[in-house]
Symmetry: D3
Subunit: 341 residues, 6 copies
C-alpha cells in the first residue's frame, strides 16, 4: 500500500495535541507534508515542533505543484469546516474533518455530495467511537446480547463547563452551543447503535439562563454579556421503527457531576451503561449485573485516524462517513428548529 501524503489545515490545540501525533505515529501509512494556518507564525511553529516540511498560510498554495497532499485533516473552526473541506475535495483529497460536520444541514449535505461525486472519502472525527467501552457495546449488540435496542438516553452534561477561551459562545462561528460542541458526540454514538436511521419525529427545548447570567466557571471564566448560544438542550427523537432517544447536553446546568458523558441503552434482552461499562440482563432465571473491570485504555485519536486511513484505502472501517455526518447535521438543525418554536 502506498504511503499517503497528508496536510493539516488549522493550527490550534487539536492539531498539535491530537491529529499530528496520531499521523506521526502512523508513519508507515501516512506522511505529513504540510501544515496550514491563517497565522503563518503558528503554522511555522507547529511545523518546526513536529518536523513537518512545509508551512502555509493559504490553503490554495498546498494544492499546486507536484507535492500535493492525498488527504487533508480539517481542524479549523466550525464555520470553516465547509469551505476548507469543499476546497480539499475539489482538489481530489480525502478529508478527515473535525466535528461537528458543519454549522448547518445544507453545508453538510453539499460536502457529502461533492465527496461522492469526487469519489473521495469525507469523514468526521467522532473519536469517542473508538473507546473500549463503545467497542464492547457494539460487539455485545452484534452478538445479540442486547436483543433489539428500543430506547437510549444520551447525555453529555457539564455543571459549569463553558470554556473561557476560544469561540465557544459565538453563534456565527460555532453554529450553536452545547449541542453543537458536546451533544453531537453522544448523538453520534446513539445513532450508531440504531444503524444511523433518521428520526421521523423530534421535539426539543434549549436554554441560556446560566450562560447569560454568568457566575463561577470550572473551565475558565466566560463573558456572560457575549453569550449567544444555548447552554443546555433537551430533546426527544422518535424513529420509524419506534425506537427513541432522549438527548441531554449542557455547557452549564445546576447538577451534581462536574461532567457526565454517558449512554444508557435499553434493549429487549439486556440494557447497558457505557461508563463504566456494565450490562443488566437475565441469566439462568435470575437478574444479572455484569461489569467489565479490566478494559484497557486506548489512544482513541490514533484508532480513529487508523479508521480514516482504512476508509481511504477502501477497507471497511467504523469512521463516521459523509452520509452519516449529513444525517447528524440534519438532526441537529431540526432540534434547533423545534426548540425555536
Amino acid at each position: 500500500m502506498p504511503i499517503l501524503k497528508a496536510a493539516i489545515i488549522g493550527g490550534g490545540h487539536i492539531a498539535d495535541q491530537n491529529h499530528i501525533p496520531a499521523l506521526k505515529a502512523l508513519s508507515e501509512r501516512v506522511e505529513l507534508i504540510a501544515v496550514c494556518s491563517r497565522d503563518i507564525q503558528k503554522a511555522r511553529t507547529l511545523a518546526d515542533k513536529h518536523e513537518i516540511p512545509q508551512a502555509f498560510d493559504n490553503a490554495s498554495e498546498m494544492f499546486v505543484g507536484d507535492n500535493k497532499p492525498d488527504l487533508i485533516i480539517n481542524c479549523t473552526a466550525n464555520n470553516l469546516h465547509h469551505p476548507f473541506s469543499m476546497q480539499a475535495l475539489e482538489n481530489n483529497c480525502h478529508v478527515l474533518c473535525e466535528k461537528p460536520p458543519a454549522i448547518n444541514a445544507a453545508e453538510a449535505n453539499e460536502m457529502a455530495e461533492l465527496a461522492q461525486k469526487k469519489g473521495k472519502v469525507l469523514a468526521y472525527n467522532f473519536q469517542l467511537r473508538q473507546t473500549p467501552e463503545y467497542s464492547l457495546l457494539k460487539r455485545a449488540l452484534e452478538n445479540g446480547r442486547l436483543g433489539e435496542i428500543y430506547h437510549i438516553k444520551a447525555n453529555f452534561l457539564r455543571r459549569r463547563g463553558i470554556p473561557g477561551w476560544g469561540n465557544f459562545t459565538n453563534k456565527s462561528i460555532q453554529g450553536g452551543g452545547a449541542l453543537m460542541d458536546l451533544g453531537v458526540h453522544v448523538l453520534d454514538l446513539a445513532l450508531g447503535l440504531l444503524d444511523y436511521i433518521e428520526p421521523d419525529r423530534i421535539i426539543a427545548n434549549t436554554y441560556d439562563f446560566i450562560g447569560k447570567a454568568g457566575g463561577k466557571g470550572l473551565m475558565g471564566n466566560w463573558a456572560a454579556a457575549k453569550f449567544e448560544v444555548e447552554d443546555a438542550c433537551f430533546a426527544h427523537l422518535s424513529f420509524p421503527n419506534n425506537a427513541s432517544i432522549t438527548l441531554s447536553t449542557s455547557f452549564a446546568l445546576n447538577t451534581k457531576m462536574e461532567k457526565n458523558v454517558n449512554l444508557e441503552v435499553f434493549g429487549t434482552k439486556a440494557g447497558a451503561v457505557l461508563n463504566p461499562f456494565s450490562m443488566y440482563s437475565e441469566m439462568d432465571g435470575e437478574l444479572v449485573n455484569m461489569e467489565f473491570p479490566h478494559l484497557e485504555e486506548t489512544d482513541i485519536q490514533l484508532k480513529n485516524t487508523i479508521a480514516f486511513l482504512d476508509a481511504c484505502g477502501g477497507r471497511a472501517s467504523n469512521i463516521c462517513n459523509a452520509a452519516q455526518g449529513a444525517i447528524l447535521q440534519k438532526i441537529v438543525e431540526e432540534i434547533y428548529k423545534s426548540a425555536a418554536k
Copy 2:
C-alpha cells in the same frame, strides 16, 4: 367544625392498609360509617376488622336514609373511578378518588364538571405530594432558591416490577400500564412545580417487549400471554413558557436499580434532586452541594387525608384537585396518542 361522615367504596388492600387507618386516626374530624364492596363478604370482614358500623355490596344503598355519608373514598379499580365518583357527587358527597383520576380525559373532565356544578370537593390521592422531600422542594422553590425551573426529569422506573396480582396488565380495566399506574405520580409532582400549566407540545414512545416476552419477576410472576399494556413509556413535554419535562416510567426495563422514583429539577439559580433531597447551586462565589440528612419520616397517607379534609372544610390545601386531575388525565391521553403515531 362538625364531624364529617365518610364511606369507603372498594374493599381492597389500599382501603384496608391506607385509607381506613388514616380516617380512623382522624376521628376528631371524620367518622367512618360504611364500607362498600362488590363482594359483601369482603365488605363485612373489613367492617368487622376496623369497627365500621355498616357494610354494603351496593353503593346506591349508602345514599338513602338519614345516615348518609358526607364524603366518599373511592378505592375501586381504575375503570370504576368515574362511575362511583359521579354517583357520589350526584349524591352531594365530597370525593377522594384513588389515582389515576380516570381511564381517559373525557371521564376526568366530566367528573370535574360535575364537582364544580355540585359545589363539592373532588380530589385525587397523589400522596407523594406529602413526602418531606417534596414539601421541602416546594418551600425552597417558593423561597426563590431555585430561581425559575426550566427542565425536570421525572422518573418512576422498575426493573422487573410487573405486579403478579391484580389487574395491572389488563388494558380495559387499568386504561394503560406503567404510565397509568406509576408515571402519573411523578408527572403530578413535576406539574406541581410548574403551577400545573398545560404543555403545548408532547412526544412519546411506549413499549411492551419485556411484558410480552415474560421472565423473572420481582413482584410475583406475571402472565406474559395476557400482557396488554405498555411496560415502559418515555415522553418529552414542552410548555408555553419554554419549560420542559422528560418523563420516564416502566414496569420492566433492563436497568440497574430495582426501583427508581425521582425528580431532577433544573432551575436558573439551583438544581435539586428529590431522593435523597439535595440541591446544587452557587454560594459566595463557589459551587455548593446541599444535603438535608435530618428529614423526618412522615405518614404520607395521613397527611393527604388531612389535606382532603381541609379542602372539604374550605381551607387552603395542597391536595390534587379536580381541575388538576383533568389536566393530568388529558396529558396522559396525549402521551398515549403520540406514542400510537
Copy 3:
C-alpha cells in the same frame, strides 16, 4: 398421593425450630403423629406446643399398633443417628436423618445397605443445598456456563464459635469437632458439584490449640478442660478426574471474619463464588464479573423437607441420599485418618 404419617425422634432445638414447622407447613402431604424424646417431659411439651397427638420416651412404642409412622425425622445426637435410623428402617419407615450421617463410615454404610434392602428412602438433612445461591450455581453448571469444574475451595470457618452449650466438644457423642459439625455442610456442597465421585487421594491436618487453651467465646463460653475434638481442620482432596477440593473448617481460628461459609469454584469457562453469588468469566473478548443482586430469600428447611417427601414419593429430588451420605462419611473418616498420621 396419600398423606404420609411422620414421627420425630429427638426433642431439641432443631426439631422445635426447623423440622416440626416445616412438616406442619406441608400438611397436605404429611401428618405429624408423634414426637419421641428420652425425656418424656420434653416430648410432651413439644407435642402440646405443636399440637402433635402422641408423645413417647421410647421409640419402640411408636412402631407398634395401627397408627405407625411412614417416615421418621431423626433429630438425635450424632451418635444416635445410626441406632434410631436403623430401627426406623427396620420398621419400614423412610428416614430423614440430621447431619452428619453418622459418627463413622461403617455406620453410614450399614445404614445405606439397610435402606436399600428395605427399599426405603434414607436421606440426610444438608439443607444448605436449598439456598438460592447453590441452586443458581447448579443451574449455571448444568447450563455449561462454568465449563468443567477442576478446583473448589470449600470453607466453613468460625473465629470463636465453639458452642457453649450441647455436646459439641464431646468426641464420643459427636464423633469429631468442626469437620463433623460444620465442614460436612460445605463438603457436601462441593461433592454435589462433582457428581459425588470419590476422591482417590486425601491429605489433612487437624488442630485443637484454641479449644484446649480457652478464651473469649462468641457463642457462649466453652469448657477448655473438656475439649476433646478438633477446632480446625484443613484438607486437600484429589479426584480420579484430577479435580481437587481444598477444605477448611474451624470452630475457632485467629482470622478476621466471625463466620465464613463459602465455596469458590474454578471451572474451565468461568469461576463462581457462592456468597454473595458471583461469576467470573470472559464475554465478547473481555473479562466479565457477574453479580445477581436480586436473589430471593428461601426457607431452606421447608425446601429440603419437600425434597425428602418427593424422594419418598419416588420423584426426582436433590436431597442428600443414603449412598451420598455413605461416601461423605467415608471421606470424613479418611480425613481424620490422614490427620492422625
Copy 4:
C-alpha cells in the same frame, strides 16, 4: 571492609531494572565490573547505559586475568541458573542467583554442595522477604505474638497473567509454569515462618485448561498452542510438627482479583494477613483486630542485595541461602510429582 567486585550474567530486564541499580546504589561496598550476555550487543548497551567497564558474551572470559569478579549475579533463564552458578562457584565467586534456584532438585542440590565445598555464598533472590510487611510478620513471630504457627495459606494468583513475552510457557527453559515462576515466592515466605523444615507429606494438583484454551490476556497475549506448563497449581504440605501449608498459585484462573499475593498465617495466639498487614488476636478478654497503616515503602531489591553482601561478608542475613534453595526446589519437584499421579 574491602569493596567486592561484581559481574552480572544475563542482560535482560531484571538485570537492567533491579540488580544493576541496586549494585550501583551500594558503591561503597561493591563495584560492578562486568556484564555478560549471550548477545554481545545487549551486553554492551547495558554496560554503556550503566557505565560498567566491561561487556562479555562468554562468561568464561570473565574469570581469567587479574580483574576477576568476587561475586556473580545470575540473571539468566531458569535452565541456566545451574550451569552459570556452578561455573561461578568453581571460579571461587559468591553467587546471587535469580529464583527459582534451578529447574529441578538435583541441580539445586549440586549447586548447594559445590557452594559448601568452595566455602562461597550461594544465595537466591527471593526479594519479597524484604517487604516491610514480611519483616514485621517475622518480628511479631519472634516476639511471640503469634504463638506457634500451625497453618498457612500461601497464595500467588493471577486472573489472566500469562506473560505474552519471554519463555514463561516453555517447559524445558522454565522447568514449569505458575509454581516455578510465582508460587515459589510465597512458598519461600511460608517456609521461612516454619524455620524451613521439610514437609513429610505433600499432595498437589496442576492444571492447564485456560493456558491451552487461550483467551483475553492482561499481560499481553500468549500463544495457547505452545502452552506447555501448568497455569494453576494447588497443593497441601504437612510437616513433621503437624504444621501445614495450603499453596495456591496461578498464571490464569477464573477469579475476581487481577493479582492476589498473600499469606494468611494462623498461630496459637494470633493470626496474621500479610497484605495489607493485619493481626487477629485476643486482648484484655476481647477479640482484637490490629492494623498497621503507616508501614513505609521499601526498595526490596536494594535490601536483598544488602542481605547478600552481608552474607558474603560473613554477617548474619535473611537472604535465602543455598540449603534453603535446595529444600524449596525439592518441595517444588515433589509437588509436580504428586500432581502427575
Copy 5:
C-alpha cells in the same frame, strides 16, 4: 444474702423503662415493694403495670410501719435529688439517685456527709460506666496498655437535641442545661480514668444563642422564649499531676453529627477512642491501630443496678459513690462560675 426491699420515688419514664425493669430482673436480690409519685394516679398505674404492691403520693408514708424499704431509687427531677435522698438516708435507706447528683455543690456535699454518718450507700446512676467499651477501656488502662493518661477529650454533643418535653430548659428545676444533663456523663467517665482526683484549675465558657433563637428541633420543639439554660459549654480542666481534660457538651450546636458521645484518651503508651472502641499505639516498632469488632451489647442499667446492690452488700463495685458525686458536682459548679466571669 437477704433480699433487700426497694422503693422508687418518681414516676416518670426513667422509672418505668429503666429502674423498675432492672429491679424486677434481679428478684433474687431485691424486692420492689413500693412506688411513690406526687401524682398518686401515676404511682398507681406504675404499680399495677409492674405488679408492685404499694403506691404512695407522699414519701414519708413509706418510711413508717414494718414493711419499710431498705433502699430507695430516686428518679425525681434534679432539684428533688437532694430532699428525697436526704429523707431516705435519714430513714436509714441506701439510695441510688439519678444523675446529676444535685443542683449545686453544697447539696451534693451534704448528701455525702449524711450518707457517711448513717453508714449507708449513696450512689449515682451514671450508667454509661457499664458499657462494654468503657469496661474494656478501664481494663486496658489497668493492664498498663495506655501507660499514664495525660489528656482526655470528653464530648457529649447534640446538633439540635433540646428536648421538647420535660423541664430541660428550666434553670431552677434542672440547675443548668447541657452540662447538667449531658456533660456530667462524660465528665464522670473521664474523671473515672484519672482516679477521680480534683482539678486545680478550670476555665469554661457557656452559650445560649441557639436555644434562645429557636429553630428546627430533632427531639421535638422547644420554647425559645423560655430557654433559661446553656445550650453549649466548653471547658478545660487541669489537674495537680498535670493531666488535663477538654470537655465539650451541647444541647444545640451547628455541627455535623446529630449526636456525638465520646472520649478520646491520650496516654504515654497508647491512645484510645471510646466509640467505636479503638486503640492507637506502637507494636514491634510500627504504629498500630486496634479495633475490637466483637464487643457484645449490654443492658447497662441492669449492670449499674447490680453494681449498686453489690455496694449495698459491702462488695467492691464500680458504682459512682457519694464522694465521687460530690467532687463531680463541685467541678460542675466551678465550670459555671468560670463561665460567668
Copy 6:
C-alpha cells in the same frame, strides 16, 4: 508601580522551595537581587540555581552601596527572626519574616515597634491564610452566613511527626515545640476569624512524654535524649466578648490520623469545618449540610507573597501584620506560662 528589590536571608529549604519561586514568578513587581546565608557556599549554590546576582554570608554587606534591597525575606531559624528583622528594618527595608514571629513576646513587640517607627511593613508568612478553604470561610463570615462565631476548635496534630532533621527539638533555637512550629498556624487562622482581639483568660497544659521516650518516627527519627520542647499542647482561650478557642497541637500523640490540620467553627447561624470545607446550618426549616466539591487548588505561598507586596505598596491585604504577630506571640507566651504553673 516601581519594581522592588528583594533579598533573602537564610538559605534553607523554605527559601529554595517557597520564597524564591514565588518572587521569581512575580518578576513584574519584585526583583530578587541577593541571597544571604551564614554558609557562603549555600548562598552561592542558591544564587546560581535561581540566577540571583549576589550571594552573601554577612547580611550587613547587603545594606551598603547603591544596590540595596527594598525588602527582606527572613527565612532564618526562629531565634534569628528578631535580629535579622530588626537589622532589615533599621536599614529601611520591608520585612516578610517566617513564622513564628519570634521566640518570645518581647522580641515580637520590639519588632512591631521598630516597624511602626520606621514606617515599614513587617509581616509574617502565615501562608495557610491563603488556602481556598480559609478564603471561602472568611467570605462566608463576611456575608453573614455564620452569624456570630462563639467557639472555635483549632487543631494541628501529628501522630508521630517530630522532624528528624533541623532544630525542631532544640528549645533555645526554636523557642518551643509543637505550639511554636505548628500550633501558631491554626491559632493565627482562628484569631483571624475573631478580628484578632486578645483573650483575657488562658489555661494550657503541655507534655513531652513521647518526645522524651522515643519510638517510631514518620518524619525521620528524632533523638529522644535531646528532646527539649513540648510534643503536645492543649489550651483554652476565652475572649472579652465571651468567644472561646480550644487549641490542640502536637508533634506526637497516640491518635489515629497521621496529620490533622483543621478548624471547627461554631457560629450562631451556622458552623463550618475547614478541611474539607463544609457548613452546617438551617435552610427552609430543615437542617442542611453544605459541601463545596469544586474548590480549586492554589499556590498559597505565591498568594501570600502577593499579599505582602500589596502591603508594601500600601494596598489592603490579608497578610499577617506586625501588630497581629505581636498579639500572637504574646498569646503563645501566655500559653507556655500557664502550662508551667
